[in-house]
Symmetry: C2
Subunit: 466 residues, 2 copies
C-alpha cells in the first residue's frame, strides 16, 4: 500500500464541505467526491455501542437475506373474519397502535364507515359515539400479519388478499383496493363508499376467491420484477402491475364467474392501484420473514396511523418506535392545499420497507411528475437510499440504473450515521373525517423514531455484553 | 455578435477528428464537441440540388406535422376479403413488390401456407407448383393501405385490424398476430400453423369484431403514449401495450362473447406481441397521412420483403427505392446462428417510420438485452436518430430522456448528409421455408435505397425549377 502510494499518482477522496475539493479542482488534481453528512445529533454513544455489537454484521446479513429471498405468492382472497379470526366489533387499523382519542380525521372517518358497514351503528353520529365510548376493539394491522393502505381499517366482513411466502412459509394479508377519491381508506364513509364495500364483499371478494382457486397461486415476486421494468415503483404507481394482474387473471375470472366477470374486470380495470394491496401483502410477508433476528438493526416495518409514524426493528421484537407523522410535500387535487392535508397515514410504507416505492423511484420517472419533480429527482432519491440500506434486491431491478437492484433493508445505524431518512412517496388524505384523498407527495419519517430505536438497540447490546 | 465575441470568453465548437479538441482540453479551454460524419459518398451534387429546393422546408413541416398529429383509433376487426376487397387467389405480402422467383424462404413458406389455408392447394408441393406457375396474384401490402409483420402475407380469409385516423380521416389495416415460434409470418406452414389460423378466422376475429362493436373505438395514440412510459418501444417489445389492450377490452370480450371469452383472453394473454399488429396499422395510417406532399424529402414507408429493403418518400408518390436487405445482427434462439438467418423481412419497420421501435429504444432498456447490448446502447440509438429526423413526437415521449419526444420523420437529405442510417430492431426469420423465428436483432437499411431516393428527389427538384 505504502509503496503504491509513493509510486503512483496520488488519489484524493474529498468528503463534506466543498472548499478542499474546489481548491484541488483549481489545481486540476483528480479527486473522488464522497457525500458526507453528520450523524443524527446525540446518537454518537448509542451508535458506537451498537456498531461494536459482534452479532450485528451477521444478524443483518441474515435479516436482509430473508427479506430479499422471500417468494410471495397470491394464494387466495378470503373474508377477514375467517382469515384473521376477527370477532365482531374488532377493527384493525394502519400504523402503530392508537386509540380513538388520538386518532386523526381520516382514521376516525374510516372507523365510522366500518361501524356502519358492520351494522354496529345506524348513522355516523351513533358510530362516533360508540367509538368514543370504547365499544369497539382497535388493534394495529401489523399485529395480525396484516397491512392496510391509508387508514388501513379492516373489519370482519371485508375481504383480504392472502399472500404466502413460498421460501420461508409465512402468510400475510391486505384488504382489497376500493379505487380512488371518496373511499373508506381515505376516511370517507358516505353511502357510495358503503355501497361499494358491500359489493366488494358480495361479488368482488367471492369472484376473486373462485378465480384464484382456479388460476392461483400467482407469483407476485415475478410480477413485481416485471412491473419495475414497466415504469411502476409499486407504491404510488401500480399501472403496469395492475395490468399484468388483470391480464393474468382475466381468463380464469370468466371461467370462475361467467355472470359477474364483466363487472369485476371493469372494476379492477378502472383502478390503476388495484395491485397495490396485493403488493403490500407481498412486502409484508417478506418483512415478517426478517423479524426477530437477535442483534439485527434492520427495519422490518414502517407504518403510520395518521398521528404517529412508527418503526419496528428485527432485533427488537414487536416494539414500536414512534415520532410524529409529518405532512407530505406534494401536489394537491383540485382546490385542496396543504392546509387540508392530514399527517402521513397508512401501512403502505411496507413497500419502502421492502425496497420499493420511494426507494424504487428511479424505475418510475412518471411518478415524480405526480408528486412534483423531475426525472433526475427520481434517480437521486433511489441513489441516496443505497446509503442507508443493507442490500440490493436480486430480482427487483431498475432499468435506468443499468438493472441495478433496488436498495433494500433500512439499517437504523446507517440512518443515524448519515442522518438520511427513508424516502416515502404517498397519497395524502384530507384532514377532516369524510373528505377522501386530497393529493400525493413525498414525506420523511421523523428522525426521532430512528434515534429511539437506536437507543433501544444500544440497551439491548449492552444487556447482551453485560 | 462581434462585440460579444471580443468582450466575453471565447466559445470553441469542435467537430469531427478529435485532435483539436484534445489540444484544447490540455489547455483547459472550454469547448462544445459536435459529432460530424462525411455525407454518403457521391451524394454531394444531388444533396445540393435538393437542399436548394425552395419547397423543401415547408413541405417537410407539412409532412412531419401530419405524421405526428395522426390520431389512430382501432375501430374494428374484419375479414381481409371484405375490408380490402381481396379476391380469391390474391395474396398481399410485406415490403416492396416481389415475384415468386426472387422471394426468400420465409416469404415462400408463408405464401405456401396461405394457399393451403385458402384451399387452393392440397399440399405444400402443389401450393409451391402453383405459386411458381404464377397462378396466385401477389401484391405489396403497402399498395392496399395495409401492413404485415415479417412475411406479411394477408390472404382473403384472414382477419385484419382496422385503424382509422380521427385527425386526417385515413384508414389502415394489419393482420392479427399469431404468437411466436412456428407461425405463418415467419414462414412456417405446418398443420399447427393452419389450425391456429383457422381458429383465428372462426373465433378470434369474430369475437374481437363483436368486442370492438361494443367497446371501440380504442384510442391507440393514448395507448402507445402510455406503453412508452411502461418500457415498450412498440416494435420488439409490446408487453405493456398488450397488457393495456387486454385490460381495456376484457370486460367487453366477456359481454360480446361469453362462451369464447376465456379462450380468446387466454390466447391474447399468451402473446406479448399481440398489440404489435394494431400498432403497425396505427403507424401506417399516420405515415399515409404524410404522403404526397410535393417537395417533401420525408420517408413515409420503410419495408422489407426478405430480399429487398424499400423506402417510399412523401414527395415521390408511390415509387419504391430499394437495396438488398441485410442480415440482422443479434441474438439467436437455441442452436440457431447467423447462417440460419434470412435477410431482414417485414413491414414492421413502419414503427421506425413513425418514430417508434429502434427510434424509441431508450424507452425500453429491457429490449437491448434481447438484441444484445446494454442500457447506454439504447439511449445512444435513440439520440442518434434525432440527427436524421424532422420532428420530436409531441405525444410519444421517453421518460429516460426527461420526457423528450421520440425522433420522428426520417429525412432523406439528413441521412445522406450524415451517413447515419435508421436503427431498426427486428425479429429474425429462418432462411428456409417452414422454419419460423430464429432470433432477434438490429439491422440497418441499405444506404443505396436512400441515395436512389435522393437522386429521384434531385431530378424532381430540377424538373420543378426547369
Amino acid at each position: 500500500m505504502t509503496l503504491s502510494m509513493l509510486q503512483g499518482e496520488p488519489t484524493v477522496i474529498t468528503v463534506g464541505a466543498g472548499l478542499l475539493g474546489e481548491a484541488l479542482d483549481a489545481q486540476a488534481v483528480p479527486r473522488v467526491d464522497v457525500a458526507w453528512r453528520p450523524p443524527l445529533p446525540g446518537t454518537e454513544e448509542a451508535l458506537a455501542t451498537v456498531l461494536a455489537d459482534p452479532r450485528r454484521v451477521r444478524a443483518n446479513e441474515v435479516a436482509a437475506g430473508r427479506l430479499v429471498s422471500a417468494r410471495p405468492q397470491l394464494v387466495g382472497v378470503r373474508p377477514a373474519r375467517e382469515a384473521l379470526d376477527l370477532p365482531p366489533g374488532t377493527f384493525l387499523h394502519a400504523g402503530p397502535p392508537i386509540e380513538w382519542e388520538r386518532a386523526s380525521g381520516p382514521m376516525r372517518g374510516a372507523l365510522i364507515g366500518a361501524m356502519l358497514l358492520e351494522g354496529l351503528a345506524a348513522d355516523p353520529e351513533e358510530a362516533e359515539r360508540r367509538l368514543a365510548a370504547g365499544e369497539a376493539r382497535l388493534d394495529s394491522c401489523h399485529h395480525h400479519r396484516t397491512v392496510g393502505p391509508m387508514a388501513g381499517v379492516v373489519s370482519p366482513s371485508m375481504w383480504v388478499f392472502e399472500v404466502r411466502d413460498a421460501e420461508h412459509g409465512g402468510t400475510a394479508y391486505c384488504s382489497l383496493n376500493e379505487g380512488l377519491g371518496k373511499v373508506l381508506r381515505y376516511g370517507a364513509y358516505g353511502e357510495e363508499v358503503l355501497t361499494r364495500l358491500r359489493w366488494m364483499g358480495e361479488v368482488l371478494g367471492p369472484v376473486l376467491a373462485a378465480t384464484l382457486d382456479r388460476a392461483g397461486p400467482l407469483d407476485l415476486r415475478a410480477l413485481a420484477t416485471q412491473a419495475l421494468q414497466m415504469g411502476d415503483e409499486l407504491h404510488n404507481r401500480n399501472r403496469a402491475a395492475t395490468s399484468l394482474l388483470v391480464r393474468e387473471l382475466a381468463p380464469a375470472v370468466v371461467e370462475a364467474a361467467p355472470t359477474h366477470a364483466a363487472e369485476v374486470l371493469r372494476f379492477v380495470n378502472g383502478n390503476d392501484h388495484f395491485y397495490l394491496n396485493a403488493g403490500m401483502a407481498a412486502c409484508k410477508v417478506g418483512a415478517d420473514a426478517a423479524r426477530d433476528v437477535p442483534g439485527s438493526t434492520m427495519v422490518v416495518a414502517m407504518a403510520r396511523n395518521g398521528t404517529d409514524f412508527g418503526i419496528q426493528v428485527s432485533g427488537l421484537g414487536d416494539r414500536w418506535f414512534t415520532g410524529p407523522s409529518g405532512v407530505p410535500d406534494g401536489l394537491y387535487l383540485g382546490a385542496y392545499g396543504p392546509q387540508d392535508a392530514n399527517p402521513d397515514i397508512g401501512d403502505s410504507t411496507i413497500t419502502e420497507t421492502a425496497g420499493l416505492g420511494g426507494f424504487a423511484m428511479a424505475a418510475a420517472p412518471a411518478i415524480v411528475r405526480f408528486v412534483g419533480g423531475d426525472v433526475a429527482d427520481a434517480v437521486a432519491a433511489t441513489r441516496s437510499m443505497y446509503e442507508i440500506t443493507l442490500a440490493e434486491h436480486p430480482a427487483y431491478q431498475i432499468p435506468a440504473l443499468g438493472f441495478r437492484g433496488t436498495p433494500v433493508g433500512v439499517d437504523v445505524t446507517l440512518v443515524a450515521r448519515t442522518g438520511l431518512l427513508p424516502v416515502v412517496n404517498t397519497g395524502i388524505a384530507g384532514r377532516l373525517a369524510g373528505t377522501g384523498q386530497v393529493g400525493a407527495g413525498l414525506v420523511s419519517p421523523p428522525a426521532s423514531a430512528f434515534t429511539a430505536a437506536l437507543e433501544a438497540l444500544a440497551g439491548e447490546s449492552r444487556a447482551q455484553i453485560g
